[in-house]
């Protein structure tokens, strides 16, 4: 039997640790990389953050607190690494200086988290919708997408319509999951 790593938040919601890991690991690595610029180091740092989350798993009031905990833990660990590196570059100093540090942090969280939501959504789409959807989000218009992927304008329109419908439906489904079972 495969192990179950569920834990209960104080508001009664149950979270699956493995699922949280799957949803967040990649984005947190990219997030950590914004500080460290060192992929391998970022990966082991994020791994530590997840272990810390597991240790504290019974302390969280709700889901957003878990997310916030992950981002802030990764940042703190990354800042620690930077301090130890003792590199005197201006760039590093900027990141470490209080006022700018908060802005840099905000920008990093908002960007990575927005992208995480987009990528998770895109991952759930059928393969052929993905490319159209991604290019569209990148700001290309229908004709440009058609040229890029070498497909007809109508096909682009079809997949685009389909993709957004799927994304919206997925969101709806989240709600009706609650009254299933």
């Amino acid at each position: 039997m495969s192990r179950n790593y569920c834990f209960t938040l104080t508001n009664g919601v149950q979270l699956d640790f493995k699922q949280v890991f799957d949803q967040y690991f990649n984005s947190l690595v990219l997030f950590s990389d914004r500080y460290l610029g060192e992929r391998e180091e970022s990966e082991s740092l994020v791994q530590d953050a997840f272990l810390a989350l597991w240790e504290n798993r019974l302390e969280f009031p709700d889901e957003i607190s878990v997310k916030a905990y992950l981002y802030s833990t990764v940042r703190n660990k990354a800042l620690n690494v930077l301090k130890h590196r003792k590199i005197e570059q201006q760039y590093m100093n900027d990141i470490l200086r209080d006022e700018d540090a908060e802005l840099y942090y905000m920008k990093s969280v908002v960007e990575e988290e927005t992208r995480r939501l987009i990528f998770t959504a895109i991952d759930s789409l059928p393969e052929h919708c993905r490319k159209v959807c991604l290019l569209n989000l990148e700001g290309l218009d229908n004709q440009e997408i058609a040229d890029e992927l070498q497909i007809s304008l109508n096909t682009v329109k079809f997949h685009k319509k389909n993709a957004y419908k799927l994304l919206r439906d997925k969101l709806k489904d989240k709600f009706y999951l609650l009254f299933l079972i």
């Binding site: 690595v29 791994q47 272990l51 981002y71 960007e111 759930s124 393969e127 497909i151 007809s152 969101l171």
Partner: protein, 387 residues
């Protein structure tokens, strides 16, 4: 503050995908008004520049090994705890703990074995066989290509992993094609009249390359979701096992696998006429006609129609569904064979949602979570055991 940032990200995402409510849009505007810097972050994200590239980066990160390490560390911690406990416990407990340890170690072995066996099972993919005429077949799902382009059939083309028919004027002959979806496959087709059909694994759809005459008539065996192009002058008719569906322009899901012995029509929008040997009824949206074929017994019920087409959106949705029906779907989609140790297992009812493109273990795990059944995976075989 981190929570606030996460909430902002959620608002930006919803705004971008077009699912933000008025209240959420206002919240986002308020945040943007707070500073130029906020505005700048938002604009960069809205432009979406570099999104494809960072998606590539995101996908390139592999977390499987990291998870295995985390899992290992968590487990060994539980281990240490049990040893602390031993200090206080009586010898009886020592035996129990030792037994538990042995069990968990052998359990892990089994798990590894299981993981290896499951690795050969993959979810379905876009593939189909197009039968142009007896003895002439084309395998679809590879590279897009024009398959036929002549005055008899018009243009038949694979565009972005879907089959598309374009009629040419002057086609007089009623030429029939058959699209067959094997186990482990799915495909879409746009028929000559512009109607779209999603076809599930283990399905056959027969239709003319051009709709000539007073009606549009197709035949289905298996499962298909139809979005029929409206044409008041030419009703669209689907022939199924024991049932005939007549529509002008609507969307509906049809399911008629031989092994089920039943034919089910579920209406999502519009109106359809359902005809069986002895009955003739009209369905409204969110109604379902369920026919036990051998007995010509027809039942009409009120359901949430959307969940019956969830498979076209990459999900399995089960609502108080018999395990056998669920496993039939799983078998067709993952191309596996299912055996039951006890036939009573077939009648157990389950509800839930699973992602179709996910690994088969996710699906089995969800069913196991109910504590009623256990699955043993052996290459392409799944054995069901009642717990």
């Amino acid at each position: 503050m981190t929570k606030k940032y996460i909430q902002i990200a959620d608002l930006i995402y919803k705004d971008k995908v077009g699912i933000a409510t008025e209240k959420e849009k206002q919240e986002l505007l308020d945040w943007l008004a707070e500073s130029d810097f906020n505005q700048q972050i938002f604009e960069e994200l809205s432009k979406g520049s570099g999104l494809s590239q960072s998606y590539e980066e995101y996908r390139a990160i592999h977390r499987k090994q990291v998870w295995e390490q985390i899992e290992h560390q968590i487990v060994s911690k539980t281990w240490r705890l049990s040893w602390q406990w031993l200090g206080y416990a009586a010898s009886v407990i020592v035996l129990i703990v030792a037994g538990w340890l042995m069990f968990s170690i052998t359990g892990r072995d089994e798990e590894q074995k299981k993981a290896k066996q499951v690795a050969t099972i993959t979810p379905g993919e876009r593939k189909a066989i197009l039968h142009l005429e007896p003895g002439k077949q084309v395998v679809l799902g590879g590279m897009d290509a024009v398959i036929v382009d002549d005055s008899l059939s018009g243009k038949i083309e694979q565009v972005n992993d879907a089959l598309v028919y374009q009629v040419e004027d002057g086609i007089k002959e009623m030429k029939m094609n058959m699209l067959e979806i094997p186990k482990g496959g799915e495909f879409n087709v746009t028929l000559a009249d512009g109607s779209q059909v999603w076809l599930n694994a283990g399905t056959k759809l027969t239709y003319p390359v051009a709709f000539i005459g007073k009606e549009r008539r197709v035949e289905l065996e298996g499962e298909g979701y139809f979005e029929v192009k409206r044409d008041d002058a030419k009703p669209f008719i689907v022939m199924l096992n024991g049932m005939e569906i007549k529509v002008l322009g609507t969307s509906f899901n049809l399911r008629s696998f031989k092994q089920d012995g039943r034919t089910t029509a579920t209406l999502i929008s519009g109106k359809v006429e359902v005809k069986t040997l002895s009955k003739n009824v009209v369905l409204e949206p969110n109604q379902q006609a369920d026919l036990i074929v051998g007995e010509d017994r027809l039942e009409i019920r009120e359901i949430d129609a959307e969940s019956y087409r969830a498979w076209t959106k990459g999900q399995f949705v089960f609502r108080r569904e018999r395990l056998e029906t669920i496993m039939d779907d799983v078998a067709r989609w993952y191309n596996v064979t299912v055996f039951y140790e006890q036939s009573s297992a077939k009648e157990i009812l389950f509800s839930g949602i699973v992602e179709r493109y996910a690994n088969i273990t996710e699906t089995l795990k969800m069913l196991e979570k109910t504590g009623k059944v256990l699955f043993i995976v052996d290459n392409q075989k799944i054995i069901v055991r009642v717990k």
